[in-house]
């Protein structure tokens, strides 16, 4: 007979660890939505493309292809490249197009990101032939730790540690530094930020690249955890990522982190009691309840625009 506290522990810990991955993915999405004002569908495609190309690199004879650090770096760089590409071909031209109203710009960036999602996704399908690609064992083999009935893999612990470091670093940078202040100005109002001397183009490119890097990193960590990668992983995560960003409140770093872990735990318990097939739906159930009570997200600013 297992003790009740121990059993809760066995369900909750994997939930929290899964939440770590959600957090990294959602952090990039939050940058896109909160700072760049792009409802970024392509974020999911970046998450998929990065591990696909990195695993291909690991299987090649290029320098460093047997080092897990180099392979992860390749994945992150793929994300950065995608982010910069998105800024250059889509976000910047739409920001500069003066004929567009705010509404039209919002719509244009959304559809633009769908187009980029289309492009990146088809590259993924071309490279993988829509098959599951295994993560090479000689590059990274995740070992599992066991306490009682609780199994935790090394990849999960690495993911969670990375999430804590990333969120801590970003929270400090945004709150304390000059760069962070300029990013906040940008998030508040693109035009006004430009008027007070923020280099909007540079900061927008930087944020887009960082968001891409986070998508790439999340993809690499997910591939390491699963020891394989399926190109369908992205879309599933995208829906959850948006739930986290919206419930956490747009642009709230702490909110994103807390809600990501909360979603991981909630899913673990719901999966335990009702079966895993209801997990995603439960996430949306929680979302609708939260939004009905607080239409601006749980921890977000309740913005009211004057007419």
């Amino acid at each position: 007979m297992r003790g009740a506290p121990l059993f809760i522990f066995e369900v909750a810990v994997p939930g929290v660890l899964a939440g770590g991955l959600y957090a990294i993915f959602a952090l990039g999405l939050s940058l896109s939505v909160g700072v760049l004002r792009v409802i970024n569908i392509a974020h999911a495609a970046m998450l998929t493309l990065a591990p696909v190309l990195a695993i291909e690199y690991a299987g090649s004879s290029y320098p460093g292809s047997s080092s897990i650090f180099v392979v992860i770096l390749v994945g992150v760089l793929v994300g950065v490249a995608c982010g910069l590409l998105q800024e250059l071909v889509m976000i910047r031209p739409i920001r500069r197009a003066e004929r567009l109203s705010a509404r039209q710009a919002e719509r244009a960036t959304l559809i633009g990101s769908v187009a980029i999602w289309f492009v990146l996704n088809s590259i993924t399908i071309v490279r993988t032939h829509a098959q599951v690609v295994p993560f090479p064992r000689d590059v990274f083999a995740s070992s599992t730790y066991r306490w009682g009935d609780l199994y935790v893999s090394r990849a999960q612990l690495i993911t969670f540690g990375t999430a804590i470091v990333l969120f801590g670093a970003l929270a400090v940078v945004i709150a304390k530094t000059q760069v962070g202040r300029q990013v906040r100005a940008l998030a508040n109002d693109h035009e006004a930020a430009g008027l007070i001397g923020v280099n909007v183009d540079a900061y927008s490119a930087g944020c887009s690249a960082l968001a891409g890097a986070l998508a790439g990193l999340a993809g690499m960590l997910l591939a390491m955890t699963l020891s394989a990668f399926d190109y369908a992983n992205g879309t599933d995560l995208l829906a959850k990522g948006f739930v986290i960003v919206v419930v956490g409140g747009l642009g709230s770093i702490g909110g994103t982190f807390v809600v990501a872990l909360g979603l991981g735990v909630a899913e673990a318990f719901l999966g335990f009691y009702f079966g895993t097939q209801w997990q995603t739906m439960a996430a949306f159930g929680i979302l609708v309840l939260v939004l009905m009570a607080r239409p601006g997200g749980l921890l977000g600013v309740q913005k009211v625009r004057a007419v």
Binding site: I39, L110, I111, W117, F242, V243, W278, T280, F284, P295
Partner: protein, 308 residues
């Protein structure tokens, strides 16, 4: 007859069905709010067809009407729940409805057939019937597009603050648009399910939100011909570029990007703007030769059209 188009019969049928689906998406998006629940309504229509016709032997027309009724009820309920949301919040919450329908389809195995779905209830409309259906819907949108209400909807889409400042009943307008979207969505889903003779939970998912949205935007949001143009392009392009293999999707994505960047009004909106500009020029020339009293009013109307 249509050999010049180099499209197979199947592709033409699919194109016509896609037109119906695109009109459902267009109705929801023309109000400006990102209520993207339409694949969920299509799922409701498709499952009603499968459950009522396949398992209980209902006549397709009765089953389709029942599906539309269920979708309208669901839309009303959804509207009550999501009434206060806007922008990205509404988009994400309404995707929840799509996920809900998918999850119900997958998990209520005894009714919906689970992951396999329901099959074997084919009842295809003929080509003429499909054309008639699309023509009726397109005509409805055409007539609506000429009404005063349509310009109010356009104001709501492009500038919601102005709309409420003008005292427009923004909420009620949104509800009506979502109901139209739900009805058309259920109709289209049902027609598609009967045409395929099957429905499975993978048919009406998140990806369909994106594909239909891309169709509507490329065609032109808020213009009656937008969904027709979008559905035609998105069905024909993959057919024409079949030889390019999987790389063709990259090209399609690039085309969408170019249109979004250079023609925010979509193809229909761009032609309308060009047409308006040409008319303005002819009028200016006429004015130079003496002009008419009503002349100053016309450019204003043209300018508003261009702005939308």
């Amino acid at each position: 007859m249509l050999d010049v188009l180099r499209l197979s019969d199947v592709a033409i049928d699919i194109m016509l069905i896609n037109c119906v689906l695109a009109y459902a998406a267009s109705a929801a998006l023309s109000g400006g709010a990102f209520n993207v629940a339409y694949p969920g309504f299509m799922g409701v229509g498709a499952y009603s067809a499968g459950i009522l016709s396949g398992d209980h032997g209902w006549h397709p027309i009765m089953a389709t009407l029942a599906g539309i009724a269920v979708a309208l009820l669901a839309a009303l309920l959804l509207q009550v729940l999501l009434r206060r949301l806007d922008g990205v919040y509404l988009a994400v919450a309404s995707v929840g409805f799509v996920v809900l329908i998918g999850a119900l389809g997958r998990n209520l195995t005894s009714i919906t057939g689970g992951a396999i779905g329901l099959h074997g209830f084919r009842a295809q409309l003929s080509r003429e019937e499909l054309v008639l259906l699309v023509a009726v819907i397109a005509f409805g949108f055409f007539v609506f597009g000429r009404s005063r209400l349509a310009s109010l909807v356009a104001i709501r889409r492009e500038d919601p603050e102005l709309a409420s400042a003008l005292g427009l009943k923004v909420d009620r307008m949104g509800t009506i648009l979502v109901m139209v979207s739900a009805g058309l969505g259920a109709l289209g889903g049902s027609v598609r399910a009967y045409w395929l003779g099957g429905v499975s939970p993978g048919d009406y998912v998140f990806t369909l939100v994106l594909t239909l949205m891309a169709m509507v935007v490329v065609g032109g949001v808020g213009h009656w011909s937008g969904p027709l143009i979008g559905a035609a392009i998105f069905t024909a392009l993959p057919e024409w570029t079949r030889d390019l293999g999987t790389w063709r999707d990259i090209g399609i994505g690039a085309i969408v990007l170019v249109i979004v960047r250079f023609a925010p009004g979509g193809i229909a909106g761009t032609f309308q703007a060009l047409w308006a500009r040409r008319r303005m020029r002819t009028m200016a020339r006429a004015e130079g030769r003496g002009g008419g009293v009503g002349a100053p009013l016309k450019p204003l109307a043209a300018a508003t059209q261009e702005a939308s």
